[in-house]
Subunit: 205 residues, 2 copies
């Protein structure tokens, strides 16, 4: 079984990364979405092992001590983290695992796991981003200003990503990202066994 590719996706709030990744997972068996662990209480309708792995604070801290997370952070008094077990298990099973994660966490994971492919998703322009945030119709002006401020901070770090994917047309974006990820199966780092085999065969032929 060939190992899968670990894909870390970040992007401006409003760039549509949630929609794009959900569609990838829905359309292709090839993908698995990483599931986060959290110490916050489940909300109505949230399911264990689908929406989150729910942990007590003590369980979460035990996992931290056991180095069981790829990355974790505390947010508004609750822990959130990416359990290694689930991600590594899916990769070993040949799935391409998509990790949707904010910029700081993404770059931390990349530093620890250089074989991960980092993708930053953006709208074609800042004005389109603003339009999409207003277009949702659910967000206050204050929240939109807050998201644009965060986008400014994130923009400083885009150049640390491997790839920039522009979400102009949703279908094109899904197709393009799928091709990009599938191409990564050709990376030398994904083919170490294959290269060793060829070498051995050439010596024996």
């Amino acid at each position: 079984m060939k190992k899968g590719v670990l894909v870390i996706i970040s992007g401006f709030s409003g760039a549509g990364k949630g929609t794009v990744t959900k569609n990838l997972v829905k359309r292709y068996d090839q993908y698995a979405l990483s599931i986060s662990a959290t110490s916050r209480a489940p909300r109505p309708g949230e399911r264990e092992g689908i929406d989150y792995f729910f942990k007590t604070k003590e369980e979460f801290e035990k996992m931290i001590r056991e180095d069981a997370f790829i990355e974790y952070a505390m947010y508004v008094g609750n822990y959130y983290g990416t359990p290694k077990d689930y991600v590594f298990g899916q990769l070993e099973a040949g799935k391409d695992v998509i990790l949707e994660i904010e910029v700081q966490g993404a770059l931390q994971v990349k530093a620890k796991m250089p074989d991960a492919v980092t993708v930053f998703m953006t709208t074609p322009s800042a004005s389109v981003l603003k339009e999409r945030l207003f277009g949702r119709g659910t967000e206050t002006d204050e929240l939109i200003a807050d998201r644009l401020a965060r986008a400014r901070v994130e923009a400083e770090l885009i150049n640390k990503y491997d790839y920039i994917v522009v979400n102009n047309d949703l279908e094109e974006c899904i197709a393009g990202l799928h091709q990009l990820i599938q191409s990564q199966h050709c990376r030398a780092s994904q083919n170490i066994e294959f290269m060793a085999d060829i070498k051995k065969q050439l010596e024996e032929i």
Copy 2:
């Protein structure tokens, strides 16, 4: 105009890289094949600026002194090299330039131009390679042994390449390589201007 991607393709003799690259160039306007300069005399039917740029030994050496080559080498008493002018001109014009080049030269170019994408093409196995070399029917046993010996040396360096492309089925290989190269347009290094623009727009919005 967005700059093109520089693609360096190497591979075992018999892996089919000539056929694959010829098909890419024939099918898609997007590609330009790099044209080598040489100090050897034109053979019947060879055309200036299509098969080679023909130079005298003196002209070639003047170009070496002027640092006009991406890489060059001497082979059986003649110079062969890749002129910067042609490659850089095509990249600026937005073409993806394919440079078909042997392993040592490829890694030299990559060291000087880290944004180049290096691809190594191989058969699915060593036995398939041997079959294809025999299957040509034009090569002596000695020549085949020589090619396999060279393949053994090349195999030591495959892991230095960015991507390994397996040529099992020709059509699949062409399609896969095309997708791989087109995905490289999303690399951060290809989108420096775009990222600077978005950053500036976000500050002004």
